[in-house]
Each structure stands twice: as structure tokens, then as C-alpha cells.
Amino acid sequence: MSLKIFVPGDAAALSVGSDAVSRAINEQISARRIDATVIRNGSRGMFWLEPLVEVETSRGRVAYGPVTAAEVPGLFDVGFLEGKPHKLHLGLTEEIPFLKTQERLTFARCGITDPLSLSDYISHGGYRGLERALKMSQMEIVEEVTNSGLRGRGGAGFPTGIKWKTVLGASADQKYIVCNADEGDSGTYADRMIMEGDPFVLIEGMTIAGLAVGATSGYIYVRSEYPHAFRQLKRAIAIAHEKGYLGASVAGSGKRFDLEPRMGAGAYICGEETSLLESLEGKRGQIRFKPPLPALKGLFGQPTVVNNVISLASVPIILDKGAQYYKDFGMGRSRGTLTIQLAGNIKHGGLVEKAFGLTLREAIYEYGGGTASGRPLRAVQVGGPLGAYFPASLLDTPLDYEAFAERKGMLGHGGIVVFDDTVDLAHQARFAMEFCAVESCGKCTPCRMGSTRGVEVIDRVIANEDRAKNLELLADLCEVLTDGSLCALGGLIAYPVQSAVRHFPEDFDKPAPLPPPATGSNQGVPSWR
């Protein structure tokens, strides 16, 4: 039997040279006349080890990393195909501590299978959830998802089953399933990883959602910053169609489900579900008033389920193993697993899927190994650009929706961005307001005007003009944004800004101005100067 060598085709692995490594391995295979096949798997999510090459041995898969193309001949020389020692030898992949202690449910196959092999998908437990769903009534499927405790992984944490129930209860000729793959938060990449590394799990989850609520059509709205994921999804959807898992009769059931990926166009606001729907309809990505809820009046005015990638990709395992199995992971009202993404100034950046309840400290130090620079950690931002900046004293906060809310922060999509002691929180607060100004859809005045005024007020604070008075004004402005904005962009921008002021007051007392800003602007982006 042909030997299997795994070289990730994930965009992050490609970004540090995995294509060159794959080419070098193929050259050695032909030069040495070895019977071996290179499989372009997804990433295991240990990005500091990418490109991570694995070989299948009788003991299991053995990992080497980070591999460069130049080191490939040497690996063949020492016999890496038998898992022999080498300075890049990492032992059995499953035994690497970063992976070993994880609880991978949604990411069970990511990095293990060939992402575009449907037979691989099925032999690793794929489509068992759909198979069970096809034997259930619509209400039973919805109840299973409700009972699992699954909450929206995009950030809002709304119970998925309840959303589905509303759509199921609505009567309409056409309903839709829309997947929000506009993963715009800095520090997050879980959606990208699953779309590239196990696209069929998302397709299966959406198909089950379609069956559950009676929707025959689905869209995946992928951000344009993810061209690789977009291409991968297109290929996977074509394969699923060809093999009868999408189309007029899903898995021979006689039930239709069609799926189409659509590309966004660089607007952060389109991660907000109503903006996303507008954008899918071919309009400006401006948010809609709620009510009506998208569940009743969503895409093209029809009842629509809008769920994040990870929420939908978690559905197959819930249907396969049952609600109770999933619910047994987690704490309090946060059930199941959280996909934590370690980012920024972190030694071991990567994906950690674990039951809710791990603390920030455990995530950053036990998995992440501390800062990449080796300098002391000073701040972490959890939950993307609208998440709070926490100081080191809050590192014992458990990663759970409610625990973060209690500390005036939010878990969001699970991204953790680590900063060392060179960070200037006044600069970060200013950036947050500027980002809000750049990305505001312009529909409501507090967000449209308030964000620009916010940048100006922070500039005055930094320049030490009437500092106390301007900090008071900033607090007042943040309150207006929080209470008066139509959506989460303006509504949450006070989190990063006010947490910076609250936890890092010393950065707002500096008499010196910020270091000279870097750049000009693009397409209406306000200048730093």
C-alpha cells in the first residue's frame, strides 16, 4: 500500500511555505522511486509548527515541523517515512501536548482527513448526523439542537435551536439557510480552518438545518479576504452535488437542498446578520431594524436561519452522538466546546477546542506558552475589535459567555489577541474608534458620527488637552454609542475603549503624544494624522 504523507494545504500553512515543502517531497518521492502519496490535509491548528508534515506509520501518524523545503532531502535521508528521529521530529501527532488535552468535537477531522475526499469524510464519521436527521421529524431535529445547549458561535451566543424553531414555525413558500462566514474579527481563524480543512462538515450542518426548518436553499457568505476558503468550498459543494449529497434529492431522501457560496467585498459590518442579508441581496451592507427578525423576514424577505460557520459545523456531531453527549461538555449556560484561537504576540499560536470553562491564563500559558517576544504580557483582547482589553489581573476569568459579560467583556468568536508590555492602550483605544468610523455602515447617527468624534476626543486626551474633561466626554460618548446604536458595532465599541481607560489609566496620563502614526488611508479610511 502506498505510504501517506500529509502536508497541509490550509492557507496559514501555505503562508509559511507548505506548497514548496509539498513540491520538494514529491521530487524526492520520484527521485527515490518511493511508493508514497502526498495528501494536502487541513491544519491541525498548531501554527508555530507549520508547515507540519506527518507520515503514517504502524504506530500512528508521526509529525515533523516546522519543515522547510531545504530540509526535505535530509528528512528522507534519516528515514522519516518510518518515523525515524530528526531534529524536527515531534513524535506521534496525537501525543503532542497542545493537541492531546483538547476536546475536538467540531474539529474532529480537521487536519486528519483529505478535505476534499468525501469517502474520507464518511469513513471518519461524516454524514452520520444527516443519516439520523433523515429519520427524524423536523421538530425532533430542532429539539435535539435546542437540547444540546448550542449557542451561536459567531459571538452573540443566541441559542441556535430557538432560532431554528422560529423559522420552522414560519410558513412561507421559500426559506433559506445562510451561513455567516464573514469572520472579520482580528484574532480569529476557526471558520477559515474548517472551511479549508473540513468543508463537508459545514455542508452537512447546513443540509441538516435545511431539513429541520424546511429550507431548500442555502448561501455561504464568505469574506473576500478568504479566497482560498472560497475556492475550497466551491470544490466541496461541487463534489457533494455530484455524489448526491446536495441537490434535488439529498442522500436519496427526495428532499432538496442547494448551496451556493457568495463572496463579500471587504466590509466588516457584513458580519452583522442583517447587513449580511442586505449584501447577499446585492445592496449596500447597511443594517436593518429588528424586528422583524431575520428568522421571520430574512433573505429576500423570507424566513431565514443565519448561523455562524462553527455553529453549523457543530450540528452534525450533535445529531450523530445526541444532544446529551454535546451538552456534557461545558459549564453553566455555556455548553459544548469553544474553539479558542490564540493570536497576536503568542509563542504557540493556534486553535484549542475545549469545553467551556478553561481560564484565559490556562489558554495563554498552558497552550500558548506565553508571549512570542518573551516580554511580559500586559493586555489581552478577547472577542475581536469590539471585545474588551483585559489586564493580566483578569487572566483567571473562565472562557464562558456569562463570566466575560460580568467583567464587561465578551467572548465573541473566541479569538484571544495577546499583547506584551510594549502596547500603548491609548493607541489601541484610538484604533478601536477609528476602526468603528471606517467600518460603520452609516445607518445610525451614534455610530456614524460618534466614532469620528470619539477619535477626536481620544486625540485630545492623548495631547493632554483638558484631559479630565475629555475623558468624561469620552465616557459620555461611549454611553450614547452603547445605548443609541442600532447594532453591535456602535453598541459594543465602548468595550475596547472604556476597558482600556479603566484597566490601563496610566496610558492615558502620558504627556507625550503617540508614536508617529504609520500611514495614510484608502477609500474613505480616515487618516491617522
Binding site: 492557507a11 496559514a12 501555505l14 503562508s15 509559511v16 501554527f47 508555530w48 507549520e50 469572520e183 472579520g184 482580528s186 484574532g187 480569529t188 481563524y189 473576500s224 479576504e225 478568504y226 479566497p227 457568495r262 463572496m263 463579500g264 467585498a265 471587504g266 466590509a267 449584501s279 447577499l280 441581496e281 446585492g282 445592496k283 449596500r284 451592507g285 447597511q286 429576500f300 484561537q341 490564540l342 493570536a343 497576536g344 503568542i346 499560536g349 486553535l351 512570542a372 475589535p385 479569538g415 489577541v417 495577546v418 499583547f419 506584551d420 502596547v423 484604533f431 476602526f435 471606517v438 467600518e439 455602515c441 502614526p517 504609520a518 500611514t519 495614510g520 488611508s521 484608502n522 479610511v525
Partner: protein, 161 residues
């Protein structure tokens, strides 16, 4: 082919691309993407063609075109370098690298250098946050982009131009 590596504006070709897509529900974004892929930007002469194909007003087409950061309304450089300046990349010093790139090219983010080989644009997150700073050259992602790596990308792009 024009100097940009894309085709020069051609109304017939534009119309053909529009007609391929006009029947899609919510066709406007796919049409803009297709035109930009073809010509490197969306020429203002496309606006009446699209408006008439989709039976919407010129103002609506213009409004959508100008809402999204991605769509260019002027011809750009032959290559496109997007540099992430979101929080994760800030934590790894992207601002220093960006200043270096701007000095090297003599142009601010959002601009095109003098020989029109390269347009540099800011982007807020490329989803490569465990390998920050990140950049994307002509749709290809790069990680751990120090000033040296940025130089390598710039040299490569100019060499191919």
C-alpha cells in the same frame, strides 16, 4: 492587455460578463467582482450597463459600488499587496513593517507606486492571526511578514511585472 495585467476596459466584454450573472438572485456583488477580475477595477461606464441589466437606478449601482472597500473605481497597479493592520498584527509590530513598505515604495497605504507595478492596501484581518503580521499578494497569503519578508514580496512582484 493593458499595463495593469488586466484587460483594458471593453464595453462588449463587460456586457457579456454582466449577462452571465444578471439572473442570479442578488447579482450586483458577483457582477462587480467579475468586472474587477476582468479589468482590475469597475469602470464608471459599467454603471449604466449594470443598471439597465438589473433594472435598478444608476444611483443604486453607484451606492453599492462605493459602499464596499474592495471595489476599485480607478485602474490600479499590476500587483496588489494587502497588508493587515488589525489588532493581532499590531501586537506583532505590523506598523513598523508598514512604515518600511511605505518608505520603500514612496507611497502610503492605498496608493500605487510610480512604475505602477504595485498597489498597497490596508486590510483588517486576513485570518492568519497565529502567524502575524500577515499580508496577501495577489490573493496569496503570507505569514510572519517582517520588513525583510515584505521586501522579498515587493521584489518578487516587481520582477514579474
Amino acid at each position: 492587455m493593458g499595463l495593469t495585467g488586466h484587460k483594458d476596459w471593453d464595453a462588449d466584454l463587460a456586457l457579456a460578463r454582466i449577462q452571465e450573472l444578471e439572473r442570479l438572485p442578488g447579482a450586483l456583488l458577483p457582477i462587480f467582482h467579475a468586472l474587477q477580475e476582468e479589468f482590475g477595477y469597475v469602470d464608471k461606464a459599467a454603471i449604466p450597463l449594470i443598471a439597465s441589466a438589473l433594472n435598478i437606478s444608476h444611483a443604486e449601482v453607484h451606492g453599492v459600488l462605493t459602499f464596499y472597500h474592495d471595489f476599485r473605481r480607478e485602474p490600479s497597479g499590476r500587483h496588489h499587496l494587502k497588508i493587515c493592520r488589525a489588532e493581532s498584527c499590531q501586537a506583532m509590530g505590523c506598523e513598523t513593517m508598514i512604515r518600511h513598505v511605505e518608505d520603500r515604495l514612496g507611497v502610503k497605504l492605498g496608493g500605487t507606486n510610480e512604475d505602477r507595478s504595485l498597489t498597497v492596501e490596508p486590510v483588517y484581518c486576513l485570518g492568519n492571526c497565529a502567524l502575524s503580521p500577515a499580508a496577501m499578494l495577489d490573493g496569496k497569503l503570507y505569514g510572519r511578514v517582517s520588513s525583510d519578508v515584505a521586501d522579498f514580496l515587493i521584489d518578487g512582484a516587481r520582477g514579474h511585472s
